[in-house]
């Protein structure tokens, strides 16, 4: 018997979100130079100073830019003096937000600063991500991230769940929506392009780019003081699947479904969903797994097909969903983040605004 079913004793909300403009390259900036403006932005939105923040948590990966301990230098942007209560996950920032959420639930902190950043431009992200794979049987073959997504897409086509025109429509809709997103990297009408790895064409794949994002969480009354309409985290959960691609049903996402169930997604309909689906076919899989009907507004930001700073793109989904609640364009939104090859690990959060 676990205490998993017990209701959260404390309400925690996203009260501020900021992101950089995502770009193909930010060679003129170091990671901290890229990150600092978004940290300042969320602090300014809430009027908080670093010293007011109860807990800080970040997400990043050393492998992206090829530097061990890259997060230690990023901390320079926080102004960690006097010393701060701080932690780091070698994961997408969505999981840093999860850790911060648990910290707020314990009552040890009332506010948390969460940030993440990803510089994909220094390396070849397709090749870098091969290093995530089983180091004995798979990584030595260097199957790149687009190849693995293409295997998944073909399985989905074979199963009759989609076809190439439908996939192209996902990409086109994402970039069309991104036209209204000033931070997006790829927006407006884009050619579907040639096959990169068949059946995926350029238009089915995310742009490669650099970016950073930051969120401030606050608990209870503190959230109401800091934000006119806090985006309350009604539930958040994440689950992982087996690593081997050949043991999984690539056409489904049982971990996303389970996380959604635990987060309470299915208790009431959501009006908006920000899905972290870097490849068009993955949106199709996630829509089915998360039971999102045509009445749900999916990825109004353009999603990861419009900007995919790896390690930040998941946190950005939560931030985008929260922003819609802040602005009153959503009342109940789902936010999703993924990690690992072919949606191996998934996080789902449900955000709600106070009734209007």
């Amino acid at each position: 018997m676990t205490s998993e079913e017990a209701p959260a004793a404390r309400d925690v909300a996203v009260v501020a979100f900021a992101q950089t403009d995502h770009r193909r390259s930010t060679a003129e900036s170091s990671e901290v130079e890229m990150l600092m403006p978004v940290l300042h932005d969320v602090l300014a939105q809430t009027g908080l100073k670093t010293a007011d923040i109860g807990f800080t948590c970040s997400g990043s990966s050393d492998y992206l830019a090829g530097r061990a301990f890259s997060f230690t230098m990023a901390l320079d942007g926080v102004g960690a003096w006097p010393p701060v209560s701080e932690s780091h996950v070698e994961m997408d920032g969505a999981w840093a937000l999860y850790e911060a959420w648990t910290k707020l639930l314990t009552g040890d902190a009332d506010t948390a600063l969460v940030y993440s950043y990803g510089k994909c431009s220094p390396g070849s992200v397709r090749d870098v991500l091969t290093r995530q794979l089983d180091p004995y049987y798979v990584a030595p073959l260097w199957p790149d991230s687009i190849a693995l997504a293409a295997l998944q897409a073909q399985a989905l086509i074979d199963a009759g769940h989609t076809d190439e025109p439908a996939l192209a429509a996902v990409g086109a809709r994402s970039r069309a929506d991104a036209a209204a997103n000033p931070h997006a990297q790829l927006k407006g009408r884009q050619p579907q392009g040639d096959y990169v790895v068949r059946p995926l064409r350029t238009g089915d794949c995310p742009p490669v780019g650099d970016g950073a994002a930051a969120v401030i969480l606050a608990a209870g009354e503190r959230a109401r003081e800091l934000c006119a309409r806090p985006a309350w985290i009604r539930g958040i959960d994440h689950r992982i699947e087996a690593h081997g691609l050949g043991v999984r049903d690539l056409t489904d996402s049982p971990s996303a479904r389970l996380a959604a169930e635990k987060a309470g997604v299915f208790e009431r309909p959501v009006d908006t969903a920000e899905l972290h689906a870097p490849f068009s076919a993955q949106e199709v899989i996630l829509r089915r797994a998360l039971r999102l009907g045509d009445d749900v507004r999916v990825n109004p930001s353009g999603g990861a097909l419009a900007a995919n700073p790896v390690m930040a793109a998941g946190l950005i989904r939560i931030g985008e969903a929260a922003t819609r609640i802040h602005r009153g364009t959503s009342d109940r939104a789902l936010a999703h983040a993924t990690s690992g090859p072919c949606l191996q690990q998934n996080l789902v959060a449900v955000l709600e605004g106070d009734p209007r």
Binding site: M1, T2, S3, E4, A6, A9, T56, S61, D62, Y63, G66, R67, A68, F69, F71, T72, L75, D76, A80, W81, P82, P83, V84, S85, E86, S87, H88, V89, E90, M91, W95, Y98, E99, T102, K103, L105, T106, G107, D108, V128, L129, R131, Q132, D134, P135, A139, D237, H238, R239, I240, E241, A242, H243, G244, P254, S255, L258, S339, P341, Q345
Partner: protein
Amino acid sequence: MSKEPVAVTGIGQTKHVAARRDVSIAGLVREAARSALDDAELTWADIDAVVIGKAPDFFEGVMMPELYLADALGAVGKPMLRVHTAGSVGGSTALVAAGLVAARVHGTVLTLAFEKQSESNAMWGLSLPIPFQQPLLAGAGGFFAPHVRAYMRRSGAPDTIGSLVAYKDRRNALKNPCAHLHEHDITLEKVQASPMLWDPIRYSETCPSSDGACAMVLTDRAGAARAPRPPAWMLGGAMRSEPTLFAGKDFVSPQAGKDCAADVYRQAGIADPRRDIDAVEMYVPFSWYEPMWLENLGFAEEGEGWKLTESGVTELDGDLPVNMSGGVLSTNPIGASGMIRFAEAALQVRGQAGEHQVDGARKVLGHAYGGGSQFFSMWLVGSMPPDA
């Protein structure tokens, strides 16, 4: 609103060695996890979530290895978090896991940290050929040795203190079957005769490079009530970070370390650590860090830590034993080293430390740090629950 008390009911470690050539990375972590489950008499199905930590991914050349390790750690279908806070990561990982229980998000969590240093070479991972940067001039010891010299200058400590620490920790390691170094013929003279690598640090005052893993089962009050053996209770836990390098940074006694300890003591109701705490497992990668941390953690006044070491207070049979397990000086699977401190502290208050048990240890501090002495994580565990 109150936090759920957190208990340690299972602890597992591998036998730490220079190279575990008989197991895969998965096999290594599995051994520690399995042994922690066995200690708690639980099965994989009893675990609600897994929190794993390790130092940089370049050390094993696997990016985010938790993805590949999900199967080995029974995490499939469960939440799995991966922590990385440099050298303090083993401690931070345990604290993140404890947070899940304290927040009542989960009832029982498996936490684990590891490093398989034999897969590559730590110095390679730490000194990638970054363009435009001056190559590292002195290796790992060269980073720490100037700070040791600064400590000696400040405190006036005699230059034999470092060798006393090393001699003690290596003898303690002989009583710990999991420790990497078992130098049966160790003598103080041998330590003092070992080559001076980074003056003032001698070879015998440095840590080895190890393969190893450490795991713990953390659970709530209900879980503790079902535990087959006495649990260790978390009485306080905290993390603190300060920037890597900054004007005014005190490398000898970093503020983040002081603040972290103060937070833990406040949570645990410790008024006088020297009096109220029975033993310490602290992160001492170079022997001189024992007196330095004794001061930083409030066990001695500034400049006085070396006197505790010199007078035998920190010996296994002393008044404040430090690193009963043999410490990082005897075992250093980098990413796991912090969790080993936390776990060894818990073993002590559970009375399960075997030959290196301190009689009557009721409150023991586990300490980890990393980066350029910038990341700190600590917990204080006790034999009685926090509300008792």
